[in-house]
Structure formats: structure tokens, C-alpha cells
Symmetry: C2
Subunit: 305 residues, 2 copies
């Protein structure tokens, strides 16, 4: 089934548009995972511990939300062992019924982009199937021929992409606003084209876009320029956007967008030192869901109401 | 020592500006490595074979050229096992006295960019030191705050970056030419700024730029806009640029640029089926060095003349 349809159904089933970012910053891990920072443990053991932390996060999110977004960089920090941990985390999340959006931000010339598609979306080896992602983030700087092999992989496998259009960080304005119209609009036009052949029954395409929740006054414009495009909005919580700001990014019925929070959930214990890290994370996730649902009501299927 | 100085010295020592790209496309590997394509072998064994092929390439290049550029995607295709092979390849090349430019094209928000810097340029763990790269390629789409953590890692470790400015693929024009001045010029201005604090004794900075050799008529312009910037030029050979085209990218004395060839060397056996793949690769590398040296004479230190 088409990625857009799978995400739409999964979001309706849980009744919220929350996406949990799994960004295991080594320096921010709770004390019980301090072994990851140890120089006494082997790298394999450190990667195993990093994976344990992420699997705990997955456990607390299971059944509550539709999808998780692991960030590749924090696994790559531990090299080949870290990537083995990444694979375990992806597999664990998928087995728990969560959709997995791999935050890898890859982008390269066509022949290389095909290799990245094989790595994350469409392996030739059945044994690798379990740790492929449902979607990945991609960087468009190299242009259409760098993204198209990824789009083809999505067409062949029912998977999806989120193309970086307008990122949430302050530096996102440096190049993404260049020119008239600004570059991000040009990228958005292409995102619409790439998605044309991949529109699901829900009316949305499998080629999504990353647009920062931090650009509160532009969220309606992003929605207008990307009418059939699933949006992924980072920047909620730690980066400052509120639930009220975000409603402009949604289609009627709370459809077509998901809101990411990473550190605000996983490392909530740092603001709540009286709680165990997992209790703090659970509470922060429940609060985020409640805050989003107060502004953005996701239509649920009749059966789950 | 500063990366620009190390590259400058290494280039002078060998007397050519050739860079060997290590892009082990699984489908193009010679028959004796067909195990990499097998579904009968374990992924670990396939990755081991992939690494063997790359180490053979490194062996034939050792002493002839200054640097190699492994492409991460073809290793990531084999997941955690592939990344272990990547680490072995980087380590082997560095032990052979070659500089290693990791073609990873990473780019992300600042906190994540720091994790990528730890992965490739500045690990906290001494045991990872051996497979760090001398430089990596980075994607600038997310703006200055995404590149600056990488620049800081270079300042701390004597390593370098090659920022994607104007890529060699046809789609490179889609966004890199957007606006007036074109986006790539804006990126080039930033590259100059990032490099200001990292200028070595050779007068060049450790923050380089990728500019496609395929844009033959623009090579002089790239050189002018990036006056102290080491250039990395892909697109020689398979992608069509000739040695004559390339001389405009160089500073006097054959300094300030390196020319990459990947498939044209590693897979030269496909055009020369009568030769063993390694003999074909050796011949192709020797021919490339001779072709470049006929147009671009690299000044060698007095001692090696």
C-alpha cells in the first residue's frame, strides 16, 4: 500500500498527528545509559546500550502515536556498530506497528542515489527487508536527477520521501530564501511533480516535504504551495512553535501533516529531575498529544471512536 | 597540520592532481567479486568481499596519487556490515599514506551536524581515530549553522571539508542556478568565509568546494570566486571533461585542485575485457595521470625531482 495511505490510516487510528523523533544525543542520555559515553566499554557494547535506550522510547510510544523518526547521525557516531543498532531500532519500531521515517537527509547523483535507495527503501535481499524504513528524508540540493531514483524506489515499494524544503533551523534562511521566488518554492514545485504519480486513495502523495514549524506565519503558505503533500514539521517544543501555530499546516480533519518532537520527549527528564527518565518522557509525550489535539482534531475511523 | 597543507604537500610529492574515487557499485564489480551480489552469502561475508575489492584498488593507487575518495552509499547498501567495511577501507588507505576524502555529503541542523562531525572527523574515542577521514563532502542546503560545527571540527583536528557548490550532474542546474546571482555563488561566498580562519602555509584553506568538471566553460569562474579554496572536480572521464578543459581550475604550479575519476578507473575492465580488472584499472590510472600531467604540471619539491 501507498505510504501516504498507510500514514493517513495510522494517524487516524491513533487520533493524533504526533511524530516522535529518536535522536539519541550521546551527551544527553540519562545516567543509566552513561556506559554509552564510557571509554571502558567496547564500541559494540556502547552501541547496544544506545539501541536499548531507543527501544525503550519505542515501547513507551507504541499504540499512542503513528510514527517515529530516528536520526541517523547519532547512530553513525558509533560507526558500523552504531548502524547495526540503527537497524535494530528500525526493526523494533516496525514490529511494534509504528511507521518509521528514517532521518538520513541523503542526496547524491543518480547512480549513487540508487545505492542509498537500496540502503533504506528497497534492498534486493529479503533478510534486509525488516530494517528498511517506511520513508526517509532527502536533501534536494543536487536537483531532480538526484531525487528521482528515490521516487522510483518509492513507486516500486510503497514507501515514501520527505524532501527538505524549508528547514526549521535559523540557517535554513541562508540559501532556502535565495532568489525570487525563493528557492524553497522552486523545490516545492518539484516536490509536487515528483508526487504526481504517487497519490494514494487518501488524496495525498507519498512524496512529502519537511517544513519547519518554526516559520509559524508561513505554515498556511506551505500548505497552499504543497496541496497534496504530506508535511513533516520539526521545531515543536524545544525549538519554540506552539500547537496553535501549527493548525494552518493541516488539511481538514487533521490530515496531511505530522508534528515532530525529539529532545522535548526523550530528554524531558532534564527538566523534571524528580522523575525517572522514562516517566518524564511518557508524560511529555502525553502532554504533547493533548496539546496538539486541543488545536488539531484528527478524524478517527468510525470503528475506533 | 592543516588539511590544505597536507593535501598540497601530498600532491606535490606524487606530482599529479589525480583523485581516485572508490565507488564499489555492486552491479559493476568484476566476476571474482560476484559473491557481493550473491543471496547465498551472509551480509557480513558480502561486505568483507566489497572491502577486499576496495583494498585492491587502494594497493594499486598507493604511491602514485595523493588521495582517494570512497563513496559512502555503496557501503551503506550493506548496512552495519557495509559500514564496518567502509571503516576498514578508510583505515587501509590512511595506513598506505593516502589522504581520504569521505564522500558522505552529510548536512543537518547544528546539534546533528556535530554528531556527523564526531562520526567522520573528530571522534572522542581514540580507537576510532584510525578510520576517521582527512576530509568529507558536505551539503550546504541547511545553511551556515549546519556547516559551522563541521568547520569547528576541522579547526580542532586539522581536517577538511569539501562543500557542494556546483555539482557535475545534469540536475545540478535545477536549484544551484536559481536566482541572481545564482545560488552556487552565494554558497561560494560562504565557503570563502568558513575557510578564512583555516588558511594554511600554502595559502589555501581547509574548506574546499566541489565544482563539476562537466561545467568546462565555468571552471575559470569557479577559480575566481573561490580564490583560496581547494577545488574537488568530479566529472572527468566517464562524465566527459578532458584534461585540457580542467587547467582553468588550477592555480599556478598545478595547485589548488584535484580531479576525481571513479568508474573510469575501477571498472576500466568493462571497456577492456581482455585485461584482468586490476591491470585495466592500473592502466587507466596511469593514463589519467599522464593525460592530466600533459596539461597541468604540478610543481614538485626540489628533493623529489
Amino acid at each position: 500500500m501507498n505510504f501516504a495511505d498507510r500514514l493517513d490510516q495510522a494517524t487516524k487510528k491513533v487520533g493524533n498527528a504526533c511524530l516522535l523523533g529518536i535522536d539519541p544525543h550521546i551527551d544527553l542520555l540519562p545516567a543509566e545509559y552513561e556506559g554509552v559515553r564510557s571509554t571502558e566499554l567496547s564500541r559494540g557494547d556502547r552501541a547496544e546500550l544506545l539501541g536499548d535506550f531507543c527501544c525503550e522510547l519505542i515501547e513507551l510510544a507504541t499504540g499512542k502515536i503513528a510514527a517515529v523518526k530516528p536520526q541517523s547521525a547519532f547512530f553513525e557516531e558509533l560507526g558500523g556498530d552504531g548502524v547495526q543498532a540503527w537497524e535494530r531500532v528500525v526493526r523494533t519500531a516496525r514490529e511494534a506497528g509504528l511507521l518509521v521515517i528514517g532521518d538520513v537527509k541523503r542526496g547524491d547523483i543518480a547512480s549513487t542515489a540508487r545505492a542509498y535507495a537500496n540502503a533504506f527503501l528497497s534492498s534486493a535481499n529479503p533478510e534486509d527487508e525488516a530494517h528498511l524504513c517506511d520513508a526517509i528524508t532527502v536533501n534536494p540540493y543536487l536537483g531532480a536527477d538526484s531525487v528521482e531514483p528515490m521516487v522510483e524506489a518509492c513507486a516500486a515499494t510503497g514507501r515514501g520521501l520527505y524532501v527538505l524544503v524549508r528547514t526549521s533551523n535559523p540557517g535554513g534562511s541562508d540559501f532556502q530564501l535565495h532568489g525570487t521566488p525563493p528557492l524553497w518554492e522552486r523545490v516545492a514545485e518539484r516536490v509536487n511533480q515528483w508526487g504526481e504519480g504517487l497519490i494514494g486513495e487518501c488524496g495525498l502523495s507519498s512524496i512529502g516535504a519537511v517544513v519547519g514549524a518554526t516559520h509559524a506565519s508561513d505554515l498556511g503558505l506551505f500548505r497552499e504551495k504543497l496541496p497534496k503533500c504530506p508535511l513533516l514539521l520539526p521545531g515543536y517544543g524545544a525549538q519554540g512553535a506552539t500547537a496553535k501555530d501549527l493548525s494552518a499546516a493541516f488539511l481538514p480533519g487533521g490530515r496531511g501533516a505530522i508534528i515532530n518532537s525529539s529532545r522535548g520527549i526523550a530528554f524531558a527528564y532534564r527538566q523534571n529531575p524528580e522523575l525517572h527518565w522514562k516517566d518524564a518522557a511518557k508524560r511529555a509525550l502525553d502532554e504533547m498529544i493533548a496539546e496538539l489535539n486541543a488545536e488539531i482534531q484528527v478524524d478517527q475511523p468510525a470503528s475506533s471512536r
